[in-house]
């Protein structure tokens, strides 16, 4: 291609279709042009023949039409016979999908819910039609790609990700120019003031989170158990007399009277009581929690916190032949006959024992709250 600004020469008009080169050529070479182009309205393209004195150059030559692009993808499948078969399979798949889709709508209308059996049928009908519709579509599409579309393997070149040195230098310049123009580097007071401002502004959202919850205080140290509070058999919510235990062995869950429906209280205050045969319990000589059973029992009945000291699951399994209490979450095992000390598992502390006695009516009541925090360990828990 010649440059149209390099100076006019007869026959140098380029069939580029570019408006400006056309115009400049037209203006400068006006005297040599055939008559009809002279009368042409400026800005409208000349007739094709008028724009070139030569015959149209061959494809690819300068000024000629572009080379017809080499096909990258074949237009026809590799194997027309197999493609014909595949076509039928694909159509069949899509038909199945259509039917399954219609079936899904029908199933939605036909199958009602509101009972376990109905839901079972509805789920089967809706799910299988939906699954089938997607599956048939997917299978059809895959066969389409693999059998109808011609196989191709093209290669694309990678350019190194690192930019050219010129580009990098240009960027560095641009960046420096910007930094200088912004005065950010030159005016340290502005910079420091900005940095100083971001600190409180960034802190503000964190401060806002403060009211997500109350401070712990000593809340974890206490439960709702108080002196004289009756132990209720959980579920039936009835008070318990020692005589209600016909024989040793069982474990029952008890809750404090007045809190039987309060999960927030029960999450700490849940208690298990176990009746032992005589002379099984090992009593403590001195009140050291977690080592041996305190003399807070009534008629060989012991009460322990039900909340595992590991991470707080209910320690709900009891094996009465071995007197082991097992937490099903992580298998911390406690010996109920010996102060619920840990025998195995990740728990570090015994289940706290609830001090118990009987009231005037002969019902089991608490003597006072647990003397140590129940449940999982926490930072402020301390040595108790």
């Amino acid at each position: 291609m010649t440059d149209s600004t390099a100076g006019p020469q007869p026959g140098d008009n380029e069939p580029t279709g570019d408006l400006f080169s056309d115009l400049s050529a037209h203006a400068s070479g006006a005297g040599d042009e055939p008559a009809e182009t002279r009368h042409r309205v400026i800005g409208t393209p000349p007739p094709a023949e008028a724009r070139s004195l030569l015959k149209t150059p061959p494809p690819g030559a300068p000024g000629g039409p572009p080379v017809p692009r080499q096909r990258e993808l074949p237009a026809d499948p590799d194997d027309p016979v197999s493609a014909k078969r595949a076509e039928r399979v694909v159509v069949a798949c899509f038909l199945i999908a259509t039917l399954a889709g219609l079936g899904f709508i029908a199933a939605y209308l036909i199958f009602q819910v509101h009972s376990v059996t109905n839901v079972l049928h509805s789920n089967l009908a809706l799910g299988s039609t939906m699954g089938l519709a997607f599956l048939a579509l997917a299978v059809g599409a895959v066969i389409w790609v693999r059998r109808l579309m011609p196989t191709v393997e093209l290669t694309e070149l990678r350019k190194p990700l690192r930019s050219s040195p010129e580009d990098r230098a240009a960027f560095a310049e641009t960046f420096e120019e910007g930094a200088e123009a912004s005065q950010f580097t030159k005016r340290p007071m502005v910079r420091r003031a900005l940095i100083a401002a971001t600190v409180p502004v960034a802190l503000a959202p964190i401060v806002l989170l403060r009211d997500l919850g109350p401070l712990p205080g000593t809340k974890l140290d206490h439960t709702v158990w108080r002196k004289g509070m009756r132990l209720l058999n959980y579920g039936a919510n009835t008070p318990i007399r020692p005589a209600d235990f016909s024989s040793p062995g069982g474990m029952i869950t008890v809750v404090p009277d007045g809190f039987q429906d309060d999960f927030n209280a029960l999450a700490k205050a849940a208690v298990i009581i176990i009746k032992f045969a005589p002379n099984v319990i090992e009593f403590s000589a001195r009140p050291e929690p977690g080592k041996v059973v305190q003399n807070w029992t009534v008629d060989n009945i012991v009460a322990y916190s039900k909340i595992c000291t590991h991470v707080g699951c209910p320690a709900a399994l009891y094996e009465h032949t071995t007197h082991h209490i097992l937490c099903p979450c992580h298998q911390s095992t406690f010996d109920a006959a010996r102060g619920a000390q840990v025998i195995f598992g990740p728990a570090t502390r015994a289940l706290p024992q609830l001090p118990m006695t009987v009231d005037a009516q002969g019902y089991l009541v608490a003597r006072h709250d647990f003397i140590e925090p129940v449940g999982p360990s926490f930072w402020e828990r301390g040595p108790s």
Binding site: V113, L154, P346, P376
Partner: protein
Amino acid sequence: MAIDKALAGTGSWLDERFHGAKGFRTFFRKIFPDHWTFMLGEIALYSFVILLLTGTFLALFFQPSMTEMVYHGSYVKLDGVHMSKAYASTLNISFDVRGGLLMRQIHHWAANLFVAAILVHMLRIFFTGAYRKPREVNWLIGIVLFTLALLEGLFGYSLPDDLLSGAGLRITQGVLQSIPVVGTYLSFFLFGGEYPGNDIIPRMYILHVLLIPGLFAALIGAHLFIMFHQKHTQMPGKGRTNKNVVGAPMYPYFMAKTGAFFLFVFAACALAATFAQINPIWIYGPYNPLAISAGSQPDFYMGFLEGSLRIMPAWQWVIFGHTFAFNVFIPALLPLGLIMTGAAFWPFIEQWITGDKREHHLNDRPRNAPARTAVGMAAVSFYGVLWLEGANDVIAQHFDIALYTVTEIARVAVFAVPILAYIITKRICLGLQRKDLHLLEHGVETGIIRQLPNGEFIEETRPLGEDEVAKLALPQPERLPLPVGVSGGEDDVPPPGMRGSIGRVRARLNRIVTETVPMNGHGANGHGNGHGPDGQGAVSSGDQAHAAIGSSGREAGGDSTGGDGSPTS
């Protein structure tokens, strides 16, 4: 090639506004290399889409409220039972909304598939070395996505407020509370006071449906954009180099294939949800802090944390009146931290060890990076032991082993198995390399026995095809100049990066990481088919290679005796 007029009109309309012709042409012609493992990330992506779709449906009916109510609904077995509105509305979705149970189950299956696919996808990336430069950032994004997926799963699993998920939530709270210094406060702030409080379900809900999915969308977008911009890696093969991408174009091939694949994933989730019940919360009952069912298991992706808690010995210190509950926060944070931080730092550690700062677009076959593969298998087996221990009660029951014995075995195995896995994997990789070497040098055994005129019997071998050679031959990781300077000679001056004790550690690690079976320069020639004695030669070449391994990679440059069958050691 006539494009439909309406389409051309639309195209023109768009082009005049977005200048898209060139960009979209490039996009349409973008080449996607093919390998079955490249679908694993797609599974994760499509399960995410399914989760969004089904999750939106569920959110139309779910009530994230812990307000107590008495149930009088279609599920008569729970008639009159106190429960939270969250649980009741989940019952309602299951029993009173047509397609509700299906959507719930698809959502749950897709969630499990999502995490599983991310896991396997990450393993693929790791074992093929696809995280190497320039893809470190995408690897890190992937790790963040994986962590978020665990959190998102935990929150979603807890939302129905059923007995099983409530146990999980209780454990989460116990773990949170055990964190030194800030644990109690974190717990009180998250739960709005003491456990369980009345706030946790609505709070988890907004995190589950808005915040974390928003982060997901942004990070997945970045993940895909980077992948797209850097172009996908490819497995070694004929015509594939570090400087090209060989495969099928985006349009129409990849579009059609990936569209079909989305439908496959959706179909799999839908059929699983139809025929395999998942999370039947009506059987578990509403949450109650006093109750628990034996054999409580979390969803599979939480299993390793559960196992980690179970395996931990009962260690707790009280120092200056403060409780360090090592028995809880160490198992809760350490394994996850170890795996995640280890994974995050690995690309940079490997770069430091090998000194390799080049771009890598051609993946390694795992056998060709024995140390990396072995490290990966050690991590997998560490995770695996913890995961199995998370089901120790189930194992004890099914295999009739005492429960405590299972835990005690696991306590040893969690350290021993990864070490064994490392050693065994490395040996297997080197063995596989030797097999490849043998194939390259002697071709494929055809099973045809021929008798030579002198009466000798030989087995005919067929040389490998061009394609097979391309797959096998290339991938010896190029040994770097790094360890050359520290080959042990007293007069060698080590390069700057290799001096001092850190330099020696680096050199030693380099020898371990770059250890491979030495490849012959002339191995593929000269040992054609049909040489009887060469059968013998092959065996001794194996021994030779073995000896070379023992003495590490430092003589790799000089050692070319590997396949000659003339043992020198």
